[in-house]
Amino acid sequence: MKNLFTKNVRSINGTNFLWLVSLVSVLLIIIIPLIVLFKFSISDNSSLFPPVPLWPHNPDFSQYKELLGSKDFIMAAFYSLEIALLTVLLSLITGAPVAYVLSRLKIPGISIIIFFILAIRFFPGICSVIPVVEFFSNPIFNLLPVLIKVVLAHTLLSLPYVIFMCQGVFDAIPVELEEQALILKARRFYTFIHVVIPIARTGIAAAAIYVFLLSWNEFIFSYFLMFQSTTVTLPVYLFKKIVWTPQLNYLAAISVCLSVPVILFTFIIQKQIIMGATEGSSK
């Protein structure tokens, strides 16, 4: 850590000092909650009661073992995984082609479509969830398995992101490549599969990861749609656990399991997340 900052610390003056102090304190504010979470997840039961020790008396991984043995948790994790993967699949299949067309065809009325795609992003989740739940509880759609309902809802939430991220990816591919393929007598579909998709692969993978995370983390829609069902996704499982068994080390272990894939994946697609965050800034 020390040689990291020597360059700036060499000339200690007011602003440099202020900068260093704020850097350290922001880092602490970000890191401490995570350390606390991890600490709780490896705490033995005796370390849970006040005064809570800064480090557990007998740290162990028993909570994780218990979790892996718990049928409910495994089921919830698989359910989450299943829903996330299906959401990725469905939203890519429907979203990527839209992105492709938006990027390639400059039809006059196309900005209206973009407006609608954007509009849905501005509805508060807690507001739009009500009509969606009501819609899925009408006699016909009520027959659908909950899993499908949740996948459909998550797809709706992730489509705008898929479309915008993929559009950026396709925009970066020169049209000339497709024109060249066309001149060499390749059919459009062939070109799409053999030229466009392979080049867009990494970008699309990033969009897929983003959607996966969105679905993996999503709480409101899952919670409302699975209000009465027994098999639930991980976040809803965690939420129900808060209400019923406030066994802190167990909660912490679930939280860690829920967060670790997200943190890993977020680091992988950092660049895209940065682009996504600043994209809205021009509006």
Partner: protein
């Protein structure tokens, strides 16, 4: 092998004006006619942005003309899809498939055509060796140099042996040596396959040496279309005259005057007697009596007066002060300033052998051969022939 005929071709792009926000129509190709014969090698030159690439795109079918007709092999093909046209194209930006090796790029068209593997391999290796790319066969486009990429793009277009080959500045990124090798390669290719080639270039030497005929484009129209001799020796207008030739042709604006039966060209800097001109040309110039014309003469067609036989240039002499001298190895270029306000170009160039002695700021007398002097109408800038 097909011929290509372009008839009253117009391409208008709609643009949104940045200042007013209104839609503006920008005619990039403006009523262009062109007749390209079977198996002809055509070169297309013009300034940047004059619409050369657009013409190629229209012929390829990548864009549809706003109006006018494109006939390929006698068939109206305005909205025929590119894949039904049997063409090959080398894009200005190369457009190599970044996820395929050099080999796969060149073989792409053959794969689509379902050419048997063995034949495909042979063909690819033949093209690779023709383009001096044997060692790059399994590399990705990102791993080879710009010039190599360009050659891969050429190879890919040639691989399918299309009837019509469109090339957009295919040699712009090569060094002089490789470029002349490639030119020869193109000539060979054309001789073997007898296909129709339309070749866009910025390099006028390339345009003159390669093409059976060359077309000079300017702002969406074709200024002149003909063999390189026609264009060099009989430019149709000031644009063509100034465009072809290095250094640029000198233009001096002045008047035709007829003094007691002798026709003169008179301007602020010089007065030339034109009686040495052939009868026919003289008669035509006579029609421009008291009217403004522009005289054009190439820097190569002017000599220092002392060094030529006196009898030849009785009246075709004029004096000028040398401003600067630009040495060019075996030759040198002398630049003088013209000082009348309505000139096309204030600099007057003369190209001389290097061993001719002259100094800057010296007043010297030039002479020129009237057979190589061009006259243009001041109003419509067309040649007077």
């Amino acid at each position: 092998m097909p011929e290509v005929k372009l008839e009253n071709l117009v391409k208008v792009y709609k643009e949104i004006d940045k200042d007013t926000g209104k839609i503006r129509h920008n005619a990039v190709i403006d009523n262009l006619d062109m007749d390209i014969n079977d198996g002809e090698f055509i070169t297309l030159v013009g300034e940047s942005g004059c619409g050369k690439s657009t013409v190629l795109r229209l012929i390829a079918g990548l864009d549809e003309p706003t109006s006018g007709n494109i006939y390929i092999d006698g068939k109206l093909s305005n909205s025929l899809s590119p894949k039904d046209r049997d063409i090959g194209m080398v894009f200005q930006s190369y457009a190599l498939f970044p996820h395929m090796t050099v080999e796969a790029n060149i073989g792409f068209g053959l794969k689509i055509k379902r050419v048997p593997d063995k034949e495909k391999k042979e063909k690819i290796s033949r093209i690779l060796s023709g383009l001096r790319l044997e060692n790059e066969a399994v590399k990705m486009p990102s791993m080879i140099s710009g010039g190599q990429r360009q050659r891969v793009a050429v190879g890919r277009a040639m691989a399918t042996e299309p009837d019509i080959l469109l090339m957009d500045e295919p040699l712009s990124n090569l060094d002089a040596r490789l470029r002349s090798d490639m030119r020869t390669e193109f000539k060979h290719l054309h001789k073997d396959q007898q296909n129709t080639i339309i070749y866009v270039t910025h390099d006028q030497v390339e345009a003159m040496t390669l093409g059976d005929r060359m077309a000079i484009m300017n702002k969406g129209i074709i200024e002149q279309f003909g063999t390189s001799d026609e264009i060099y020796f009989h430019p149709a207008n000031i644009f063509v005259a100034g465009f072809i030739g290095e250094p640029r042709m000198n233009f001096i604006s002045g008047e035709i005057i007829n003094e007691k039966g002798v026709v003169y060209f008179s301007s602020a800097n010089l007065k030339l007697g034109l009686s040495d001109l052939p009868e026919k040309k003289l008669a035509q110039l006579n029609d421009f009596n008291k009217k403004k014309v522009i005289m054009g003469v190439r820097p190569q067609d002017i000599y220092l007066y002392d060094h030529r036989k006196v009898s030849l240039f009785r009246q075709n002499r004029f004096k000028m002060k040398i401003d600067v001298i630009l040495p060019l190895g075996p030759r040198k270029i002398i630049v003088s300033r013209l000082d009348s306000p309505d000139e096309v170009d204030m600099n007057f160039h003369v190209e001389l052998d290097n061993d001719i002695i002259c100094r800057e700021d010296e007043l010297v007398e030039f002479g020129m051969d009237l057979n190589y002097v061009h006259f243009f109408d001041f109003e419509d800038k067309k040649a007077i022939v």
